[in-house]
Amino acid sequence: MVDEPKAPPAGGSSEPPARPAPPAGTPTGTPQTAAAPPGPAVPAAKAAPPAAKPAVKPEPWASPLLDELQKLFPSAISDALIFRNQPSVIVTKESLLQVCEFLKSDEGGEYTLLTDHTAVDYPKREKRFELVYHLYSFKHNDRFRVKVMAGEGEKIPSVVGLWPTANWMEREVYDMFGALYEGHPDLKRILLPDGWTGHPLRKDYDILKQDDAWVEANLGIKSGQ
């Protein structure tokens, strides 16, 4: 038997203890109003709506867990952000396994369930793949997102040893993105046939071009799409 998770806080998902105040003097609107020449009240009226509804964006995240992580792995943690109450951090690939091991341990919050592992492709970045791990802690009823950046052909340590469920998830990421893992027991395609070329969820894998190529190769005509 495993402990029943604690009753959730009123907000639904876990509430971070202290969210830093937004930076004073948000630039929305105020400079224009100051620079506007004295005259009709139109600029002020125009500036009002954005001030009432500030742009929503990821904000810096602060929590005891983050302090602990930064203390233990001073150079490994960066970009601790919170958006819609969902915290995430970026971890260097060298310390991914240690950080994950710590998060899974009793001191680190007992994130015993790897809910999901996936990737996002940003082809213009120096390291194009953002590998995302969604962790869940039954004890604290808390979700946490850990990310690792990986370049083309760069090997990321596999977390199958920590969470066996990562086996198929990493295979799927390899299949769809071509990200590579080190220490995976059986890294091969999972959803696509073994002889498939390319990795479909990459941003440069154009479905229209694929379609045109197929039509040309198999029907011998221009598809005209």
Partner: protein
């Protein structure tokens, strides 16, 4: 091959599927056998892969919603609900109570429908012919309610980002109440057929045991996890819609075998009726859409949102770059993750039990392969 090595070869590899009635679709399992005993297995999936996640990147947020119905096609309502809720979270939209309760009613009816389909086919796989006729009879009533509500029975696309497209039709509440009253005694009927049936007990008790530790390590969720004795349900742990305002129990098993998972799902159907009744009582006239623009354009950011689908935790990870098209949509399908436990569960069992374990995992290949 010399005769000696041939005689030594007592290990046999056979394919089960992809064309096999008990694999519930196009699942292929490579079984390594010693006689009738399973030594190991490998699931080969992907026959139904349609690239749903790639499609998402080439559609607007609104356009992608109908595609979600085609993943777990026996539980389209909950699939769509997970997606629209994820986008709503990204947008930061609050839903009016009428929309929330309507969603919950339809989602719970969908859970019952999905469990009924599972119960009928699972029993059929194990040689019990009768239940499938009864369960499909009751499932039909639910599908009729869906059809009356949105015109579709299976791929419903029942919800819209921000609320509902259609308000409830006249007599919806009455019809749902009537179904609840009609349905509860039927669950007792199924139980009368199976729960103490000696053949059923022989086929399910002690088959496909999954310990709580294994279950968590393998990441299984939903009734499979609860059958192993882990009391965890997304509706209780991290409530969405108005699940924190209704009362219901989370049934769990003790031994983590096929029988316990059967009991858990049957109990869940009763709890779903309980939730549905409470929602019908509370539903009041009011708006059905929250404040969303005509064009869905979420701010830059990413959210992970999950709901308790009939099969387990269904999660959507949506990344927005501030445009009208999602930058990335990742579906965390419960069937895909649960299927991974198959190998652990069937090792050491007989070939006939493989069918039982595939059935008890309650997978839908449309969702496994996406």
């Amino acid at each position: 091959m010399s005769e000696a090595t041939f005689l030594d070869a007592n290990e046999l590899v056979i394919n089960m599927g992809p064309q096999h009635p008990a694999t519930h679709g196009v699942l292929r399992v490579k079984l390594r056998l010693d006689g009738e005993k399973v030594l190991g297995s490998e699931a080969v999936i992907g026959y139904l892969h349609r690239g749903v996640e790639k499609i998402a990147e080439n559609r607007t947020y609104t356009q992608f919603a109908p595609y979600t119905d085609r993943m777990d096609y026996v539980a389209a309502v909950t699939n769509g609900m997970g997606y629209v809720e994820a986008v709503e979270k990204l947008l930061g939209v609050e839903l009016p109570p009428r929309a929330q309760y309507t969603r919950m009613i339809l989602a719970e009816l969908q859970r019952i429908a999905s469990h009924l389909l599972w119960l009928g086919t699972h029993a059929l796989d194990l040689g019990a012919m009768t239940p499938v006729f009864y369960t499909f009879r009751e499932r039909e009533e639910i599908l009729k309610i869906f059809e009356n509500y949105c015109g579709a029975r299976l791929t419903t696309h029942a919800f819209r980002i921000g609320g509902l497209q259609y308000d409830l039709y006249d007599g919806f509440e009455k019809e749902v109440k009537k179904f609840c009253d009609y349905f509860l005694p039927k669950v007792d009927e199924y139980e009368a057929l199976l729960t103490k049936n000696r053949i059923w007990l022989k086929r399910t008790k002690g088959v496909g045991v999954l310990t709580p530790d294994d279950a968590i390590a393998l990441g299984v969720t939903g009734p499979v996890l609860r059958g192993s004795g882990v009391k965890w349900d997304v509706r209780k742990a991290q409530p969405y819609e108005a699940y924190d305002k209704v009362e219901f129990e989370v049934p769990i098993g003790e031994n983590g075998d096929t029988y316990d998972r059967y009991i858990v799902r049957v109990q869940e159907m009763r709890q779903s009726v309980r939730i549905t009744r409470q929602c019908v009582e509370r539903i009041a006239p009011g708006p059905i859409m929250g404040k969303v623009g005509k064009v869905i354009k979420p701010p830059v950011g990413e959210v992970y949102h999950s709901i308790e689908a009939p099969k387990g935790e269904l999660g959507y990870f949506v990344v927005s770059d501030g445009s009208t098209h999602p930058y990335r949509v990742r579906v965390r399908p419960p069937s895909f993750v649960n299927l991974q436990a198959l190998d652990t569960m069937i090792r050491g069992h007989l070939v006939a039990d493989v069918v039982a374990v595939i059935g008890t995992l309650d997978i839908v290949l449309g969702e496994v392969d996406r």
